[in-house]
């Protein structure tokens, strides 16, 4: 290859992917930065507030927060450390992983013990995420967090009462914004009025209660006298006094008092029923899982892998490729570790909700692209796969209020079922394969403008990899659909029921089948084609894969949010109509993304038809016969 050509292609190999990577990272970072910037002024005051508070209740000598973190509480179907409860509560209240940079445990305890009266009514911490809803109840904040006073003085209660009245007999038809407000109201009514003390289900049930209840864990109790009936009265009293002492010490900011009260409380609750207390190792495991946050860490590793792969490809540096693969493998190992821990701590089901399914997709994306790269000796697989996996995990991290990451129970039919372990990962893997094909197409499309016949070996390689990824995806989604059918026949009594999710899987499958046939038939063919099996023009093939990405987005997200169905992580939108859901705030990003992809498809096609060098003469029948 000439020096000139090498230089030209460097643009496509290096600059363009770099722009892509930078664009993706920049977009994610930029959105976060914009949101942060909006509330900076209000923030600084409260950051200081929490720093002061932390200094007042804890220091290294006492280690109060770390001790309190380990207190086991029962919350939402599971006994878990206070750390998890605090994180989940703060996330559902604020929509963010931490609030004002403070330790969630600190915020949680402060809300519980200091109560609303002590300045809490002025801290903006309660989220109403949509501007529409904020203006509807008369809160005029720029950012989504409001204070207790604001909510109390707003028209939330009366508005929700009206909504409830209107939809008394048809809750399934409530619109999405209304649903959010009703949910919000339920939270505020409970959390605000009671503080967080009502979440302190700290005392295990009596042995008799535990045995009487068939379920895994009986109800745990609050440390109050009525709740503790049936226990040894002496110990029960000790639980109450220890708890009261803890509260008093916290209010007095007495570090030593907090320490001793915590120890007493733990000892007393353990004494109530030692058998009911969770394993100490489980508790510390869960806390370390919370602290390590393996999925987020893995996402950064994927990004590193992607960037290393990019440079290895651009400058033909094989050593960098191995580093990229290593980073990817470490990231996958972290994800696997996270999953393993979740399975250990939870009820043993792996992929049951949107959160877990997205983590699974990122994992399989990385797996498939590494395998592809190892097989084909290339590195652009990791380049795109890493970016894809990173984006998925970053979305999870940033919008953690929309994706419930808590380890919890699942709906009846999912429990103790082998199919959930087979059907879901296979379908997720097929999505991942299609995602890789889509991202390769993003790199290939501009390149095809310069090199419509894909004479560059790199472009050819990209297309070949994309082709393989498509094949993998098509095979996997077919198997996934069939196994899903077997599962459905087992638990719903029908193999296929035209549920929107099923139908859209079929639509996705049909689309790629069409693309495969177009590839075979030689749609807009170039001489000889790129590969033996692909007579189709590289540009149009890439365009097809790009459109496939859009359909994938619809199958994966659009079906859940816009269409109603049976699949458990679907239906978050309730039964509101298709257009209602489409134009709703919550799905704005989706509509914009999908719409702009469509527009881009059309623009690129038109541009190609006008700008690209005239297509090579097709093989005439006479020539073919000869």
């Amino acid at each position: 290859m000439s020096h000139e050509a090498e230089k030209k292609n460097l643009f496509f190999r290096l600059i363009l992917p770099l722009i892509l990577v930078a664009g993706v990272v920049g977009l994610i970072w930029g959105v976060g930065a914009y949101q942060r910037a909006k509330s900076t002024e209000r923030k600084i005051k409260w950051i200081e507030h929490f720093e002061k508070l932390e200094a007042a209740v804890d220091d290294e000598a006492h280690g109060n927060l770390d001790r309190l973190r380990k207190l086991p509480l029962a919350y939402k179907e599971r006994v878990q450390p206070l750390d998890s409860v605090a994180r989940r509560t703060i996330r559902s209240l604020t929509g963010d992983r931490t609030v004002y940079g403070a330790d969630p445990v600190l915020v949680f305890l402060s809300m519980a013990f200091d109560g609303i009266s002590d300045g809490w009514n002025e801290i903006p911490i309660f989220m109403i995420s949509y501007g529409v809803n904020r203006s509807r109840v008369g809160i005029d904040n720029v950012d989504k967090l409001s204070t207790y006073d604001q909510i109390k003085n707003s028209e939330l209660t009366s508005y929700v009462a009206e909504v409830r009245k209107e939809f008394a007999n048809k809750a399934s038809q409530m619109s999405m914004p209304d649903q959010e407000l009703v949910r919000a109201h339920a939270t505020y009514a409970r959390e605000l009025e009671l503080g967080f003390q009502h979440l302190f289900f700290i005392a295990p049930p009596t042995e008799a209660q535990r045995i009487a209840d068939d379920a895994r864990q009986a109800d745990w109790h609050l440390p109050i006298a009525e709740d503790l009936e049936g226990h040894d009265p002496k110990i029960a009293r000790e639980v109450q006094t220890a708890y009261a002492d803890l509260r008093t010490a916290w209010r007095a900011r007495d570090k030593g008092g907090i320490k001793s009260a915590t120890e007493r409380l733990l000892a007393a609750t353990t004494a109530l029923d030692p058998a009911a207390m969770p394993d100490e190792k489980r508790i510390s495991d869960e806390i370390s899982l919370n602290l390590v946050n393996p999925f987020t860490r893995a996402s950064w590793l994927y990004l590193f892998a992607s960037i290393f792969a990019l440079f290895s490809w651009a400058f033909r540096l094989n050593s960098l490729r191995w580093i990229a693969i290593l980073a990817g493998v470490i990231g996958m190992a972290l994800t696997a570790f996270g999953f393993y821990m979740r399975v250990q701590l939870g009820f043993g089901v792996t992929v049951t909700n949107l959160y877990e399914s997205m983590v699974a997709i990122s994992f399989t994306t990385m797996l498939i692209c590494i395998v592809l790269d190892l097989l084909r000796g290339s590195s652009f697989g990791i380049l795109v796969g890493g970016i894809g996996a990173f984006v998925l995990l970053a979305i999870l991290d940033r919008y953690s209020d929309k994706f419930d990451s808590a380890i919890g129970g699942t709906i009846a039919v999912l429990a103790n079922n082998i199919w959930v372990h087979i059907h879901v990962p296979i379908v997720m893997a097929s999505y991942a394969a299609y995602l890789i094909a889509f991202m390769l197409a993003v790199i290939a499309i501009p390149w095809c403008f310069r090199d419509p016949k894909a004479s560059d070996p790199d472009l050819k390689g990209i297309l070949k990899t994309a082709e393989i990824a498509t094949n993998v995806g098509t095979l996997l989604i077919f198997i996934g659909m069939v196994l899903g059918g077997v599962w459905a026949a087992d638990s719903w009594g029908r193999f296929w029921g035209w549920d929107p999710k099923e139908t859209w899987s079929a639509i996705l499958f049909l689309f790629y089948i069409i693309v495969i046939h177009l590839r075979l038939v030689g749609f807009k063919r170039t001489i000889g084609g790129v590969t033996k099996s692909m007579k189709m023009s590289p540009f149009w093939y890439s365009m097809c894969l790009f459109t496939g990405g859009n359909i994938l987005l619809w199958t994966y997200y659009g079906t859940n949010e816009l269409l109603s169905g049976l699949h458990s992580y679907a239906n978050s939108s309730g039964g509101a109509g298709f257009w209602d859901n489409l134009i709703h705030d919550r799905n704005r990003w989706f509509v914009w993304t999908s719409g702009s992809m469509l527009v881009l498809t059309i623009l690129a096609s038109v541009a190609y038809l006008m700008l690209a060098p005239k297509a090579a003469p097709t093989i005439s029948k006479a020539n073919a016969a000869a």
Binding site: A215, R216, A415, D490, F495, P500, F511, H517
Partner: protein, 760 residues
């Protein structure tokens, strides 16, 4: 209680291979037909096409080979049929039959010997057109066009489903798309295309194995889906603990149960207008004859409207003033706690209502102001009242004759007897009050009698007027305003224009705890509240006003509406509430008369349609299907997730009882472990609780899917094919080229030996 094992020893048989006894011959014949047709299609058609061309079948051995396969397939099908039919459809027998096929293949392959090739001949006539047709239908672009059509249709269908939304979206999408004929036709046409595309590839090469597998698998998938479409059954059955069921309700198919008790007629008709919740105006006409004593009666039922979600409604509406007005009123009763109760009263149909014996609500009409006043007086039955016979002219009272009922305890009818002479209008009239009735009742004027206690309407008198000219007229008057008390009524035969009125301050009693809406005279409206004292409170009727018996009374009655002339419109209308139920509107024609009514699903009693000489009853119910075996629910349990009320799983203990097979087995049905028997599968679907008996139960959803096995087979073959075509094609190509190279060298060698050139 000892726990039954999770998987029981009942032979779980299902699908196509274990159909119901009566269906068995048909189904096995179908299997034979399928095998024969497939073989014929795969062998004979290509043979016909390629017979005269240069193809695989120019080799006589190949023809022999495939003909043998064809024959063996047929024999195999026949064998399977016979064994299956004779021995009650056991799977093992079917497989014994199926074993013959590969066996036959091996035998035929071994017998196969070589014969020289024939020269190819050009195709002619119908073979040629068939060839062209196959070729055209198997066109890849045509296939892609169909795939694209399906792609677009499916997108539209899912969007449509969500646009309809609510609970009916899926059903609507089924009606409009998935169960529509044209949708099936796409599949059929897809099947033909696939088939032709496969034929086009004939004779097959090694490298096409993957391709062939994929497309054959898809062909089988299409066959499976069609079998499924025609043979699928879904139903629902509710069982309470301790109960036994032997039939199932269809989930989608409902029927009209028609009964004519007088003619001894009973028949069920399938309702076809109720599959699409969006289209409510499909029509269906059911005509039938019922015969009795040699006389045939012709009936016609027209269903012209269907609501997937309907609700009853009943509302008042006013009518223009009429000669014989009918008053209607609507009140809202609010007891202590609970939901308010709407009470609608109709002067003729339901003038009064009794609320649990505590409270009476009535609608009365007053013909005059005096009548209205007298309505509000309480009048203990059996007591006697002082009154007066008033003679009026032009509204002026001319005369007032007191009527004393006599001493207490005496016969009241005797006490009133008076005989007085009066000068009126210059003549002397003798007015003789004949009888007094403390509780007078009458069918018509003059036909008075003393009513039995409880039937009393009002006190009254009968009297005679003897005129100066010797005329004599008998009359009667009732204190509630009937006969002679109104300003307009006059003695009919008399030349006199006097008006007689019997005024008595005792009248139609309003029992204690009664609220009466009194309409009249004219458009006046009042509410009378009787709390058991002598006189009821009379208040003007004001819409929106609340009336109570006393300040402490638990009942509050709100006046909603009242029309002096109006009607209560009742019926069924479409609703979007979750509580809506399906309903059809039926018009029954018999003779010259038509009756139109709404029939909702799940009525306890049938809906009667009244005709002059007969009654037709209609009931709109899910179609029942007899299972041939029965299931009794021993007990049902529900497990929740810890610390929550989210159900984790349901378990039902049932006894399966089949007298025909002499099976009686105890089985545990839980999530993901449904009961499968004779092709039916039972799933725990919804827990039930009965309010009355406090019993628990479970709703099972029942399904039967004969296409399931075919679908699985097709999917398996397709998946294998996809894998081969995507990942092993290069390898197959290499094998193929190696073989053809070998063959070539062999051919060249033989050509060299024989010395005759071979065509390229």
């Amino acid at each position: 209680m000892n726990q039954p094992s999770k998987r029981t020893k009942v032979k779980l048989r299902g699908g196509l291979l274990a159909p119901e006894r009566k269906q068995m011959p048909t189904l096995f014949s179908l299997i034979i037909a399928w095998f024969t047709l497939t073989t014929a299609a795969l062998v004979l058609v290509p043979y016909a096409i390629f017979r005269q061309t240069d193809s695989y079948f120019t080799d006589g051995n190949n023809v022999l080979f495939w003909s043998a396969i064809c024959a063996i397939s047929t024999a195999h099908g026949a064998m399977a049929f016979m064994l299956g039919y004779r021995k009650g459809g056991q799977i093992s027998n079917f497989f014994w039959g199926a074993l013959l096929m590969p066996l036959g293949l091996i035998v035929v392959s071994m017998l196969n010997n070589k014969r020289p090739d024939r020269d190819p001949q050009p195709a002619r006539g119908w073979v040629k057109s068939l060839d062209r047709g196959t070729f055209a239908f198997g066109n890849l672009w045509w296939g892609i066009a169909q795939l694209f059509l399906m792609f677009a249709v499916l997108i539209r269908a899912t969007v449509y489903e969500s646009q309809v939304g609510g609970g009916t979206g899926n059903v609507a999408a089924y009606a409009r798309f998935y169960n529509a004929t044209w949708f099936g036709l796409i599949f059929v046409s897809f099947f033909i295309t696939l088939f032709c595309a496969t034929m086009r590839k004939y004779p097959f090469r090694i490298s096409q194995i993957g391709w062939l597998c994929t497309h054959t698998g898809l062909l089988i998938l299409v066959i499976g889906s069609l079998t499924r479409y025609w043979g699928m059954y879904t139903g629902f059955v509710r069982v309470m603990e301790g109960e036994t069921v032997s039939s199932v309700d269809d989930r989608d198919v409902r029927e009209l149960q028609v009964g004519i008790p007088a003619l001894g007629y009973q028949k069920n008709f399938r309702v076809e207008t109720d599959h699409d919740p969006v289209n409510s105006s499909e029509k269906q006409t059911i005509a039938f004859e019922a015969k009795k004593n040699g006389v045939s009666h012709e009936f016609e039922i027209e269903l012209d409207r269907y609501y997937a979600k309907a609700a009853f409604f009943s509302e008042l509406s006013g009518l223009p003033p009429a000669d014989k007005p009918t008053a209607v009123a609507e009140l809202k009763l609010q007891g202590k706690g609970g939901k308010p109760q709407i009470i609608r009263l109709h002067e003729q149909r339901q003038p009064g209502q009794d609320i649990m014996g505590l409270l009476k609500i009535q609608l009365l009409r007053a013909t005059s102001a005096h009548h209205r006043d007298s309505l509000t007086w309480s009048y203990p039955p059996g007591s006697t009242q002082r009154g007066a016979l008033v003679v009026k002219k032009d509204g002026d009272v001319l005369l007032r004759i007191p009527i004393l009922p006599g001493p207490r305890g005496a016969d009241p009818s005797q006490g009133a007897r008076t005989d007085t002479k009066h000068v009126l209008e210059g003549g002397v009239f003798s007015i003789f009050v004949d009888r007094y009735f403390s509780q007078l009742s009458a069918r018509e004027p003059g036909d008075f009698y003393d009513a039995a206690p409880g039937q009393a309407i009002a006190p009254g008198i009968t009297f005679r007027i003897d005129g100066p000219n010797g005329s004599s007229e008998n009359h009667s008057a009732r204190s509630d305003g009937f006969w002679f008390n109104s300003d307009t009524n006059k003695p009919s035969d008399s030349q006199l224009d006097f008006v007689f009125e019997y005024q008595c301050r005792a009248s139609n009693p309003l029992p204690a705890s009664t609220i009466a809406v009194i309409v009249g005279p004219g458009d006046e409206r009042h509410v009378a509240i009787s709390d058991g004292r002598r006189q009821a409170r009379l208040e003007p009727f004001k819409e929106g006003a609340t009336y109570r018996f006393s300040k402490t009374s638990p009942f509050a009655i709100e006046a909603v509406a009242c029309f002096a002339n109006g009607t209560i419109r009742e019926g069924v209308r479409e609703t979007d509430l979750d509580t809506g139920f399906p309903a059809v509107r039926a018009t029954v024609k018999y003779g010259a008369k038509k009756v139109k009514k709404w029939i909702p699903v799940g009525l306890i009693r049938s809906m009667p349609f009244q005709f002059d000489d007969t009654i037709i009853t209609l009931k709109y119910e899910p179609r029942k299907r007899d299972l041939g075996f029965s299931i009794s629910l021993l007990d049902f349990r529900e497990f929740d997730y810890a610390n929550s009320t989210k159900p984790a799983k349901y378990e039902s203990n049932v006894i399966l009882h089949d007298p025909a097979e002499q099976i009686e087995e105890r089985i545990l049905i839980d999530m993901n472990n449904p009961l499968g028997y004779k092709g039916y599968r039972f799933f725990n679907s919804r827990p039930l609780t009965s309010d009355r008996s406090k019993k628990r139960g479970i709703g099972f959803s029942v399904s039967r899917d004969p296409g399931y096995a075919i679908l699985l087979l097709g999917s398996f073959i397709t998946a294998i094919g996809l894998m081969t075509v995507f990942f092993f094609k290069p390898r197959l190509r290499r094998i193929e080229s190696r073989r053809s190279a070998k063959k070539k060298t062999a051919n060249t060698k033989s050509a060299d030996q024989s010395g005759t050139p071979q065509p390229a």
